[in-house]
Subunit: 318 residues, 2 copies
């Protein structure tokens, strides 16, 4: 009999969330541990094993598990290593897949978060049945996973699909990005980028805005959304600017892989049409005539709480 | 016995060049017909068949031919059709692969020129053995062919890899491109783009230049190169600007598919280091730290006269 379940692990800097997933994309059991508490990777893997085995035993034991998929910052699909991840407690190269496969006796594959999200959409979400699409995750950063011919693109070194680090503002005015270069899409179109845009407008103009009632340093993309709902003009301008950057770059991305759709996931998508409308407008305005009106722009419909675990688990069906 | 030869066809707006190619990438017989003389596609195919059969008979007949590959403007690999090619005499959708396969009794595949060039580099050229690279052709236009995991990327509609139509200059100042949009890389970094840059600098500044001895409308990229060899400052500035646009976009392209190399082909490559140095400088300056110094920048080493036929022929080995 086919093994009916896979395990998905969403490894974040703060928490590691994991679950048992069935072939229809239901997370049928879930749990988590605190990533930050384990400065020793071996102790982390031991605890993870112990906690995961509780879930696995609840679904009939390891013989029912086809494999383990893990989405991790700087996870390299080719090598199975986590490579110099700035937000994880372990430095250098961590042979995570190998450690996990050895421990569990089933195959373990890893990839980065955005690639896992793309796998999730293709296996269980709005990209089901699509062979060519681009996944864009708008969260603390801007991640991307590119699917061509039904496969995630890894490139020569395993790190393809870093579209958040294409350049939107050239020269000295470009914002410094966490990656070390300036002017990256991520520095403008992530949740933190949106907050930066808010502070910039408030500081450099005297436009009226309900956002002025907040402490500038504490403004979040959620605050901007709440202000937009009240028709606050600065908030609407912020989403217009953010959508413009995204739409302009999406037009470039389309020339690369001629995708059927661009799928957007992450906290910022809660902004809905405030963000989607300017993205669509500027994408259509900047795309080669051949693709005008032809590339779908979709929001993920996976439940946010489950999406990362689902995405990671999709790796394990392969 | 394996069939030892393939046929390659390079279909251009003016001439159609074709040849017999062996497995080592030698064009062992070649000929051509005038594309423009055939407003009727059937007559074109009939003449092409007659002329190609002369070459084929000279290598032992059709039983020695494994297949036919053709690089054609707007050639769609998926459908085998030539689709609305502006520079060819036949309008609308031409089922070229099917017509050729029927006529010759061997498989015929088509793709666009830049994808054919990528196949040629992978099969016979500097990209031999590479699984992930990006081909950029700098001629009348800027073409591209993207190879991922050893395969040319065609995308959802067969038209992926139009990197010449990513945007380098946004807003009203962007040059109108032949594709209908403005600010495209092609409008700046093609041979015609270089000539436009020359005219722009000569018209809008009073910088001294030997290019002022020429009629502005007649300046070509070759003239700019000749001037650069004489250390003409305007000519050097033109290549610096052109290389900057290319290098900046190359940095973006790398984030997409993490290629082992970017391979450059076409008339403009004759400019050598005048072009390569600024490309490299601006690519390295703009690329994510992860890839600094890691992506090769290569000029094609295929003989220009043979390259297009070789590239097209590579399709027929698949």
């Amino acid at each position: 009999m086919e093994k009916p379940y896979v395990m998905g692990i969403d490894m974040g800097g703060t928490n590691t969330v994991f679950g048992v997933v069935d072939a229809r994309g239901h997370v049928i059991a879930r749990s988590s541990i605190k990533t930050q508490e384990y400065t020793d990777i071996k102790k982390y893997v031991n605890t993870l094993h112990k906690e995961m085995m509780k879930l696995i035993d609840s679904v009939g034991g390891i013989d029912n598990i086809r494999g383990i998929g893990c989405g991790a910052p700087n996870g390299n699909y080719y090598t199975g290593n986590i490579e110099d991840a700035p937000n994880l407690p372990w430095k250098g190269i961590v042979p995570f897949s190998e450690m996990m496969s050895d421990k569990f006796g089933v195959p373990c594959h890893i990839t980065n978060d955005a690639n896992a999200a793309a796998m999730g959409e293709m296996t269980y979400g709005v990209a089901r049945g699509m062979k060519n699409f681009i996944m864009i995750t708008l969260g603390t950063g801007v991640g991307s996973g590119i699917v061509i011919d039904g496969k995630v693109v890894y490139g020569h070194d395993g790190h393809a699909g870093e579209l958040g680090h294409t350049t939107v503002v050239r020269g000295e005015n470009g914002r410094l990005c966490g990656c070390g270069k300036t002017g990256c899409l991520e520095a403008y179109a992530s949740a933190t980028g949106v907050a930066r845009t808010a502070r910039e407008i408030l500081e450099t103009t005297d436009k009226k805005s309900v956002l002025r009632n907040l402490k500038a340093d504490a403004i979040t993309s959620k605050d901007v959304y709440d202000a937009a709902v009240q028709e606050d003009e600065v908030a609407l301008e912020i989403f217009e600017t953010t959508g413009k950057y995204l739409g302009e770059k999406f037009a470039d991305f389309i020339t690369f892989s001629a995708p059927e759709a661009i799928v957007i996931f992450g906290g910022l998508t809660k902004a809905g049409d405030y963000l989607m409308n300017p993205i669509r407008e500027h994408m259509e305005k900047n795309v080669m005539p051949r693709w005008k009106g032809k590339v779908k722009l979709l929001f993920s419909d996976l439940k946010e709480a489950d999406a990362a675990v689902l995405g990671a688990s999709a790796l394990a069906w392969e």
